[in-house]
């Protein structure tokens, strides 16, 4: 086996197993009933099955597929939130996961406190956040609302703040899961611009979207998932064409 040092993300035969919610056992009585009936083995559901792909440094991959096809699960696997049931995931580089903007926000805290909290969730240090604070506030354009508890923010406002915090570093791998749908036109443009800047700077991008046009515009490679199985991978345009054609049959 030759050692390929080129890749930054390598997913090999990854399978993710979920416990179907209907079979969820979360109280003791149910547990013992099931134990006695020998039904303790849960009914498994494979959200991602046997997916393999390799991403090289600097590539931009789009992930397409219908709802529930395992796109977000795949991203969570790469972030390390989920562990593969079978197979391996090898990631070399720091990741900025944007599975959801402002995941670490607490509604009762003010925006300033939340910037530090969210920065901490993303693994940044205090000194780093001190230095970046002004830039975050400026990018989010929310200077006048900094002392307000986040619970009084609109969804667009907190998305602005979340994106501003999450993208202050230039990570080696940026993972975006259709989070830019909120926010007004001007802000979306601003986000797209920042993403382009990052790509030019050599960041590797993994992008999940239902907007095929954005995938074509932003990505050079694509991966098509259907019910957890990989249908196709390769050139973005070819995969997108095949994916779109599957609806016309």
């Amino acid at each position: 086996m030759t050692v390929d040092q080129d890749y930054i993300i390598k997913v090999t035969n990854a399978t993710v197993r979920f416990n179907m919610a209907s079979e969820r056992i979360d109280n003791l009585k149910e547990y013992f009933v099931k134990l006695v009936k020998h039904e303790l083995m849960f009914q498994e559901f494979l959200a991602v099955q046997d997916v393999s792909f390799e991403v090289k440094r600097g590539e931009a991959w789009g992930v397409v597929g219908t709802n529930g096809s395992g796109k977000s699960t795949l991203l969570k696997l790469i972030c390390g939130i989920l562990k593969p049931y079978r197979g391996t995931v090898d990631v070399r580089g720091n990741i900025a996961p944007l599975i959801e903007l402002g995941a670490g926000f607490d509604g009762e805290l003010t925006a300033i406190e939340n910037i530090y909290l969210n920065g901490a969730v993303l693994g940044y240090s205090k000194e780093f956040m001190d230095n970046q604070f002004d830039e975050i506030v400026e990018f989010a354009e929310l200077k006048d609302f900094m002392d307000m508890p986040i619970k009084n923010y609109s969804s667009g406002m907190s998305a602005r703040l979340g994106f501003a915090v999450a993208t202050i570093v230039r990570p080696e791998i940026l993972i975006i899961d259709e989070v830019l749908a909120v926010g007004d036109y001007a802000f979306q443009e601003k986000c797209q611009e920042r993403m382009h800047q990052m790509l030019e700077g050599g960041t590797t991008l993994l992008y999940v979207s239902h907007s095929i046009e954005t995938v074509r515009a932003l990505c050079d490679h694509a991966l098509w998932l259907n019910r957890g199985k990989m249908m196709m991978k390769g050139n973005a345009d070819e995969v997108c064409d095949a994916y779109m054609n599957s609806f016309n049959v």
């Binding site: 979920f18 416990n19 969820r24 056992i25 979360d26 109280n27 003791l28 009585k29 547990y31 969570k76 972030c79 390390g80 939130i81 989920l82 562990k83 990741i95 996961p97 599975i99 959801e100 995941a103 670490g104 607490d106 009762e108 805290l109 406190e113 530090y116 909290l117 901490a120 969730v121 993303l122 693994g123 940044y124 240090s125 205090k126």
Partner: protein, 262 residues
């Protein structure tokens, strides 16, 4: 061993998150109340006053310096019950966050227990007030008190981790634990002298109840002006370390499955 070093490294990397979570808990606890942190001192004082009135008038308690006796027990027990109760929901309560970003899961449990610990440190102010009012003279053995608090902190951390991981799979633990705490409170000589109990029960408590170790250590220093018994120090430290090992082991063993159950 390598694993251990790696974990410690992770702990160091996420210290800022830990600090942020602790300060969030403390800030939010009294936000928008007029007296704020003063409540940390006032609350235990008020509870103590009520209990002193109840026990010295109704039950004719004959413990010397009952207020001091009581508030020591009360402070230590409240910390234990509060921190473990918060630890139970520390994983399930942060489900949203755990599903969205990668953060070491123990951070949430450790930060809950730690914020309760900081809150307990504030409430030591209540102890000082009672000591002054009751004219308790400080002595050199007070320097040992931080060790007692550390013992209890480690014990609660271990117990909290054990309960937190358990309640991810069985939410029932949360409710059963309320009953356990109540039983535990009556089985701990918090507001009665240990001598009051029948022989067998007393022996059980003296050998098995960690809260008895911590309270008695503290009381021997303050009320008797002496170094705590070697047996108590050894048992208190031993049970703390043992609990921490059990809790950490159980937590690390199951943590990869949390995501499927929260």
């Amino acid at each position: 061993m390598n694993m251990f070093v790696k974990r410690l490294g992770g702990f160091y990397k996420y210290r800022f998150l830990m600090q942020q979570l602790v300060s969030r808990d403390i800030k939010l606890k009294y936000r928008r109340s007029f007296l704020g942190y003063v409540w940390s001192i006032l609350n235990p004082l008020l509870t103590m006053v009520i209990m002193v009135i109840v026990f010295s008038n109704i039950f004719n308690s004959d413990i010397q310096n009952f207020s001091v006796y009581l508030i020591i027990g009360q402070t230590l027990f409240t910390f234990m019950s509060e921190s473990t109760n918060q630890a139970i929901t520390s994983i399930t309560g942060n489900a949203a966050l755990l599903k969205k970003t990668y953060v070491p899961k123990y951070v949430f449990t450790v930060s809950k227990v730690t914020s309760c610990f900081v809150n307990m440190l504030f409430s030591l102010g209540a102890l000082v007030v009672v000591f002054v009012v009751c004219r308790v003279v400080p002595n050199v053995y007070y320097l040992f008190i931080p060790i007692i608090l550390l013992q209890e902190y480690l014990f609660c951390l271990g117990l909290g981790m054990l309960l937190a991981q358990g309640s991810v799979f069985f939410r029932d633990i949360q409710y059963i634990y309320n009953a356990v705490i109540t039983a535990w409170m009556y089985l701990t000589p918090m507001f009665y002298p240990i001598e009051m109990l029948p022989e067998t029960l007393r022996k059980l408590i003296v050998t098995l109840n960690p809260m008895y170790f911590y309270m008695t250590e503290f009381r021997q220093i303050v009320l008797n002006g002496q170094m705590p018994d070697a047996y108590l120090i050894a048992a208190g430290s031993g049970v703390a370390v043992l609990m921490l090992v059990i809790g950490t082991w159980a937590f690390l063993r199951t943590q990869d499955k949390f995501i499927l159950y929260i």
